[in-house]
């Protein structure tokens, strides 16, 4: 059993489990939306003096912080007990495209060229990790949600604004992948 679930999961199993997580949170009377935690963390840090966005009782969002803690534990459990993840088996076309950018074939889940402390010694590393993280935090709040809130929950509840947000995700993602990455890397 452990061996079976230690392999990488196919897309249909993964999609079904993600839907199950969303439905579970509905059943608990909550809504699946991970990026709200950033807003909560800003409120906890005393952000309400700076913006009305952070002027709310963050304790009402404790459940989502617990979900966040769980997601860290889930990553740890996967790495420690279900460590079937060797090299990610990506498409040959992607391997070739990335090789042209100087990113080697996968040895684990992440390219060490970008996700290592050494990478922070270079300008590229700062752009990829710091600017990237900043844009995710800024954009998710501006758009009112991230992949979980818009792409999964918003589309499941047939919300037009979420479809617009997802189209935005792809405009930004495609532009960055095809125009900016060749310049940065």
């Amino acid at each position: 059993m452990i061996e079976f679930i230690s392999q990488p999961w196919p897309w249909y199993t993964s999609g079904a489990v993600i839907a199950f997580v969303m439905i579970l949170l509905f059943y608990f009377g909550k809504t699946f939306g991970f990026s709200s935690n950033f807003r909560t963390l800003c409120a906890m840090a005393g952000g309400k003096k700076q913006s009305a966005l952070f002027d709310f009782d963050w304790r009402s969002q404790t459940w989502n912080l617990l979900f966040l803690v769980g997601s860290i534990i889930g990553g740890y459990i996967s790495a420690t007990f279900l460590s079937g993840n060797g090299a990610v088996a990506i498409a040959d076309a992607t391997l070739n495209d990335l090789a042209a950018l100087g990113i080697g074939a996968p040895q684990g889940l992440q390219p060490t060229e970008i996700f290592s402390w050494n990478a922070l010694m270079s300008v590229q590393g700062w752009i990829m990790l710091l600017a990237g993280g900043f844009l995710v935090g800024f954009g998710s709040r501006y758009a009112g949600g991230c992949t979980s809130g818009h792409a999964i929950t918003g589309l499941s509840t047939l919300q037009m604004p979420s479809l617009v947000a997802v189209i935005g995700f792809f405009i930004g993602g495609l532009f960055t992948t095809h125009v900016l990455l060749p310049i940065i890397l």
Binding site: G15, A19, F28, Y76, S156
Partner: protein
């Protein structure tokens, strides 16, 4: 117990995001290059099941664990913030290969450098809160 159920849901989320490899920068690159069905399959399956589940919840007016009806409030019908915010988010997604959830899952997996990405994201949200009155 009330706290535990949210932690357990989060653990399941962390495991599925890892085992599906959706937390991998490589998989997000593959997605934005349209070179694999994998990520589209994951999101598509989740949404397809989600649409049916939400329809069932609405049709039978199902309640949550507190006995309150499960409702799906409509998002406000303005468009600028969704398209602009979405585009900014997408740029960050392609750079880091991680949306907010996977940042934390990666941290747990052992890619500790993601703490830098997370702190940057908190600053990004903070900056949005500071600027939001001036944005379209």
């Amino acid at each position: 117990m009330k706290a535990l159920k949210y932690i357990l849901a989060g653990i399941l989320f962390g495991i599925v995001m890892t085992k599906s490899e959706a937390i991998s920068w490589y998989r997000i690159q593959e997605m934005f290059r349209f070179q694999s069905f994998h990520m589209y399959g994951i999101i598509g399956t989740a949404v397809a099941i989600g649409v049916v589940a939400v329809a069932i919840i609405k049709k039978f007016k199902l309640s949550d664990t507190d006995g309150s009806p499960i409702l799906f409030p409509d998002k406000e019908k303005t468009w600028m913030r969704y398209i602009l915010g979405g585009t900014i988010f997408g740029m960050g997604w392609a750079l880091t290969g991680a949306c907010p959830g996977p940042m934390f899952v990666n941290l747990g997996y052992g890619y500790f450098v993601f703490i830098v990405v997370i702190i940057a994201a908190i600053f990004g949200t903070y900056a949005y809160g500071f600027l939001m009155k001036k944005l379209p």
